[in-house]
């Protein structure tokens, strides 16, 4: 188990030694800050009217939830850039023999890589969380709803990272990995657009969609079905990545 952390720590360190990770952090933060401020501005405009309503939506519903919801879309674009190098870059630079010759199993390699990139994703979630938390300085928040949203964001990023890791295991070119990850994620994101008119199919596709399960969490509803969906999604792609590395050793 120790070796998994070793690999994860190296991965995280290398990520932060490249300008790419810092750029992604900066750009994502900039875009989300803009959305956050725009959302906050419109809340301020209607705050007086909302105060008259009974059971009116609070600042969490109007400002925080939409920002967290949009964060997933922004990160759908950004996360393939973070995950693309995980294995593809090692294959391109021919550093994989280091891992293959060491007394380390394929599962440990994949787990280490995954945990490393998840460390980065958690930094992202932490930075994004700072924005809604700053509202605590001047008011109160529905912290439960915020926590559910952040949990959802972490799970969505976990799913993005798992898919990205698998795509990165397929190629020696990081850009190819990024493009195919993005394609895959976008497809799973919008998969419920099709079949909406057909009763059974639409329902089945909606269950597959990354977006549908996310929406629940952003609304503050934490259900086992949604959690199970993300865990299965993550394990499925990590399993594929392990299989892929094993097959590479067999097939050459």
């Amino acid at each position: 188990m120790g070796v998994v952390w070793t690999i994860a720590a190296r991965e995280l360190r290398s990520l932060f030694l490249s300008p790419l990770a810092w750029t992604v952090l900066g750009v994502v933060q900039l875009i989300l800050a803009y959305l956050f401020l725009a959302q906050l501005d419109s809340y301020m405009q209607f705050a007086a009217q909302l105060a008259l309503l009974e059971n009116a939506p609070g600042v969490t519903d109007i400002v925080v939830s939409p920002v967290i919801g949009d964060a997933a879309v922004v990160l759908l674009l950004a996360s393939p850039l973070v995950t693309m190098r995980l294995l593809a870059e090692e294959r391109r630079a021919r550093t994989l023999p280091l891992l293959y010759t060491a007394p380390v199993s394929m599962t440990e390699i994949v787990a280490g890589k995954y945990l490393g990139v998840m460390g980065f994703m958690l930094v992202l979630v932490g930075l994004i969380a700072l924005m809604p938390l700053s509202l605590l300085a001047g008011g109160s928040l529905d912290l439960g709803k915020l926590a559910a949203g952040l949990l959802g964001l972490t799970l969505v990023l976990g799913a993005f990272a798992a898919a990205g890791l698998f795509m990165s295991s397929l190629t020696a070119q990081p850009v190819v990995a990024a493009v195919s990850t993005f394609g895959l994620l976008l497809l799973v994101w919008i998969i419920d657009w099709a079949g909406a008119s057909r009763e059974g199919l639409g329902d089945a596709l909606a269950r597959l969609s990354l977006l549908r399960h996310y929406e629940n969490l952003v609304k503050g509803i934490v259900s086992t079905a949604d959690l199970a969906y993300y865990l299965l999604f993550i394990l499925f792609f990590l399993g594929l990545a392990v299989r892929r590395l094993d097959a590479e050793r067999m097939g050459g």
Partner: protein, 321 residues
């Protein structure tokens, strides 16, 4: 009788095969390596050297056959087997963005060295590879020679019984080459080393055994001292304008055998280190044979190599190893 020395076999490969689709890269390769051996693996490009090394180090699964490292089967007990191997691939697996110290600490942890002993292991490996004072240098900024040393340091950091080096001296300057060779020789004292190369003098200088690999098989295998003897046991080539009967040549002291080659040419075989060249010249003058040429013939490793690897169907030939 000299008592047979106990050979501690550290690496054994039996009947290794590797197919890439229809193409057979390695065909039934056997290999045995004991402590103290420095095995030179020679072969032309595409002979299957790198494929073989990849299979020995667990980077590639063999299509058939088995590999045992320090008594552990590479397939059944990969963890124990791999812990006993250090490998420097043709291209050193370096992370350019890390410093030498960070990188070696990572390699040490990867190879299961306990956290408390990592510093000690890194210091020792760096000292052995002449990397003192380079700990804080960025690998990407090092010269090729130093990168190569970091690659070797990575391979020996966990003091594995078996060290496998794939062309460790490529692209180095002559001084660095000498240092690396010295290091390999030193490693051979308490490890078992495989050195893949196509630089023939390097093998003669460093290795205790040579195996030539061609078209995926071992076509030649010999201990270095046996090889030296064979190479030294020489012959003279003479060309005479008026050649006498071969018996006259055979009568010259020191000549053991005479092979007529036609057109006044003869090959005179003699014992190692006792060239009868002077006697032949004197006899030729005395007999009025008209000596035109007198050259010592020396078979070099290169000749053996070229003969074996350019032959259409190389017959497998094994000698005392």
């Amino acid at each position: 009788m000299i008592p047979v020395m106990e050979r501690e076999v550290l690496l054994r490969a039996e009947g290794l095969y590797r197919w890439y689709g229809e193409r057979c890269a390695v065909a039934g390769l056997d290999l045995e390596l004991a402590r103290g051996d420095v095995l030179g693996l020679l072969g032309p490009n595409g002979a299957g050297k790198t494929t073989t090394l990849h299979m020995l180090t667990g980077n590639l699964a063999p299509s058939a056959g088995r590999v045992t490292v320090a008594g552990h089967d590479l397939l059944d007990a990969p963890r124990a087997a791999k812990a006993a191997i250090g490998y420097l691939p043709e291209q050193p697996p370096l992370y350019r963005e890390l410093t030498v110290g960070e990188y070696l600490r990572y390699c040490a942890r990867l190879n299961g060295i306990a956290r408390a002993r990592v510093g000690e292991a890194v210091r020792r490996a760096m000292a052995r590879c002449g990397l003192e004072g380079m700990e804080r240098r960025l690998i990407g900024n090092l010269s090729k020679g130093y990168q190569q040393r970091v690659g070797i340091a990575q391979a020996i950091i966990h003091v594995p019984p078996v060290v496998i080096l794939d062309e460790p001296t490529v692209g180095l300057d002559p001084i660095q080459i000498r240092e690396i060779r010295e290091l390999v020789r030193e490693l051979g004292r308490d490890h078992a080393v495989i050195l893949s190369t196509h630089i023939l003098p390097e093998v003669q200088m460093v290795c205790s055994r040579v195996e030539i690999i061609h078209r995926g098989r071992i076509v030649w295998s010999a201990a270095m001292d046996a090889l030296e003897r064979e190479l030294a046991a020489g012959a003279l080539l003479v060309r005479l304008a008026r050649p006498p009967a071969p018996e006259a040549l055979a009568g010259i002291p020191g000549v053991e055998a005479v092979e007529p080659l036609g057109e006044g040419r003869f090959r005179l075989r003699h014992a190692a280190g006792a060239s009868p060249a002077e006697a032949v010249a004197e006899a030729a003058v005395r007999g009025g044979w008209g000596l035109l040429e007198l050259t010592p013939e020396r078979r070099s490793l290169e000749q053996v190599f070229v003969e074996l690897t350019t032959a259409e169907e190389p017959g497998a030939r094994r000698e005392a190893a």
